[in-house]
Symmetry: C2
Subunit: 435 residues, 2 copies
């Protein structure tokens, strides 16, 4: 018998996502209750200022500025956290779990930094902690990794999981826009924050990759374990050269499982222009997961925005509500931690795209090749691009065969010492996919 | 408290999918049990002939030729049906549900034809009937529609859900292959059956669309409600002409919800060549679902094959096992049937691509346009393609603005009566997507 026929929700936060969630929960048609088999009620909403005017008409008795009005209310079954940031979200969620409440969160920073301890606490408390909205907005990806792909050993996860940078890179690639112009345009359209650091430096993507990699490999990957490089060094001509070589450039989040540990990195990446991920443009996100049984599976959609994010939050609420309707709310399965080490970036072996400004004279390529050869880096292709007759320089674009990151970093130091090398324009890793 | 710490599986069928499922369930590492939190055992397998040599080494005491050894065994919690076909799968599943066993099936034909009654029986029996593997092989799509996208009103479902025809159409589009040659190649590679009817006539895709549309719209869409046209009338030059016009041709499964009912149809379709679905090539499948909250969400992967299908079957087994480990197995939520009517094809309004062989003389286009105009069909573009000076004919390719299917069918009859029209080469519907 259902121990709880009515499910009461407490909402922490009423920003754009909170408002979108509240709007559906307050929908008078009650379609969510119909689909779940038990009535779902939004009982209380935590806000900073209960007098602030709001876009959505909300009965004033629902609003409270006191967290305990939710966390200490025994009638509340599910706490939905959409405040963002580490504090006080952590403390609130911890208190909710300890009080035996199920928790749904959209908080990528918190889950990337404190996910494992909160998940353990949820198991100990016999409740669920669900976080679909923390990655990929409206794209189901956490649920599929937790459930639908669970019979697989996951080998690789590729993600385009930051819409701001994907918008910027799409503009640079398709229109030849400069980085600063593309960023300004993204800001004007509301796709980038006034302070865009978290997006353009890959911090946001690294949080999300830590969550995905931990789920995919059943091990703990911390946000600080993820190697991270932003997109601000890319030039419009890198996209032109990449295109000529058969590649698109994406800020790719990459996680792989090898015999000796896992790789987790976020950086601009050349990917073959004919693969599906290369067609993921604008603010859209996509995650490609390769399982031993399924092969590659790709999930695509809007990675941000209040409505898509509310879809993910509400899916988790419904999952818990169904569990409550049928019994004890289906407490989370045990957290499996296989304890795989995260490999240091210096262990990486990959292909590289290297753009160098050098003196335009005979023997220069030989000198550069010699330095690379000394580090066992084998050149796959060389093209000489723009020549500047005034400066007497030429721009060389090289790609390499798979080489060690450690060797490449050492070679870069050597190259910078060469008198013929004016500047290392850019070093971008190449992901051959499917290889 | 868990009422059932060990989960016993009975498997009906040991063909290629059954063998792949058994292989994972018999994996000595027990990783599935670890992830679920309760031991999972394969207890009995129904086969036609227990003496037949098999590729997978299976303890002989697991095999039985008697369905009741599974259906009447009170120790068996979950019955997994991978026999295929309507009979005796229906009778076996019905018996299993009545006996209070959870059921997982990969059977698209059965779910398309008898799904609603079996799902009602499952609810009445307090057990689950899960069917992820019935659509899209290894791609999670049934689960996402049942759960992850559940807070959405779904507006449209587009699917490339038959790998055989997608392989054939990809060959025709990319290599200019003829239909018969592409089919022969698909058969040689094992992508098409010796009798390819179910695939090339869209029967398989219609089964899957009936399942997807029923889930998406919370209403009953029967396989027989789905309008269906196969791919055998397509010529290599249709792909060339489509490409010139900016389109790819796919066998698209389309379901839409309107104010007056739902559309459900499977037919060759021109889609803009720059949308993601147009890049789904070869045997891969994809389903794009548009929800009111999420916007478009796309799921892509291998739509068939023993391993991908086993991933979907096992995901359902694990879902049930987790429910059993935590209590009563989380019986299915109520079946919501909104009772939307499925609209007849004659109510469709869409754009068309029309290829006509006509006398190569002045005034012919005027006559054709006149017939179309009389039916209120407005021509969007006309190009004259190949001319045959010996026959004195020319091939005309027209596209129309959105027009009524009823009017178009009437116009086709009129066109065939024109003395200048030698042949209606092909009529293919155009889906503008996102419009």
């Amino acid at each position: 018998m259902p121990k709880n026929s009515q499910v009461n929700i407490g909402l922490l936060g009423l920003g754009v996502v909170g408002t979108a969630v509240a709007q559906v929960l307050l929908d008078p048609s009650g379609f969510l209750s119909e689909r779940t088999g038990s009535p779902i009620f939004l009982r209380r909403i935590l806000v900073r200022d209960i007098t602030k005017p709001r876009s959505l008409e909300i009965p004033s008795e629902l609003l409270t500025a006191d967290p305990d009005a939710i966390l200490a209310d025994p009638e509340i079954d599910v706490v939905v956290e959409v405040m963002g940031g580490e504090h006080p979200a952590f403390e609130n969620i911890e208190a909710a779990l300890r009080a035996g409440k199920h928790v749904v969160t959209a908080n990528k920073e918190l889950m990337a930094k404190r996910g494992p301890e909160l998940l353990s606490l949820a198991v100990d408390s016999g409740v669920q902690l669900l976080f679909e909205a923390s990655v990929g907005g409206g794209i189901p990806i956490v649920g599929p990794l937790r459930k639908d792909l669970q019979a697989n050993e996951i080998e690789v996860v590729y993600g385009i999981i930051n819409g701001t940078t994907n918008y910027i890179l799409t503009r640079m690639g398709q229109e030849g826009a400069d980085f600063q112009d593309a960023l300004a345009e993204a800001q004007a359209k509301g796709y980038a924050e006034p302070d865009p650091t978290a997006d353009i430096e890959g911090i946001d993507a690294a949080f999300k990759l830590a969550i995905l990699a931990s789920l995919a490999f059943h091990t703990r990957v911390r946000a600080t374990d993820v190697y991270r490089e932003g997109v601000s060094k890319l030039k419009a001509r890198d996209f032109r050269y990449a295109e000529e070589l058969g590649y698109a450039i994406k800020l790719l989040a990459i996680a792989k499982k090898g015999l000796d540990g896992v790789e987790a990195r976020v950086h601009p990446t050349l990917i073959p222009k004919d693969v599906l991920l290369a067609k993921v443009d604008g603010v859209f996100n996509a995650v490609e997961v390769t399982g031993d049984l399924t092969g590659p599976v790709l999930f695509y959609g809007r990675g941000a925005g209040p409505q898509p994010t509310s879809s993910a939050v509400l899916a988790n609420v419904l999952e818990i509500a169904r569990g409550l309707a049928s019994g004890d709310g289906s407490p989370a399965p045990p957290v499996v931690d296989r304890g795989f080490p995260v490999k240091p970036m210096s262990d990486l072996v990959t292909r590289y795209y290297l753009r160098i400004t050098a003196t335009d004279s005979a023997g220069v390529l030989a000198k550069i090749s010699h330095v690379l050869g000394d580090e066992n880096i084998s050149v796959a292709s060389v093209i000489q691009k723009e020549t500047d007759p005034v400066e007497g320089t030429a721009e060389l674009v090289l790609t390499t065969h798979p080489s060690s990151e450690k060797a490449m970093q050492k070679a870069l130091e050597e190259l910078e010492r060469l008198d013929v090398v004016w500047e290392i324009g850019n070093l971008v890793r190449i992901e051959q996919m499917g290889d």
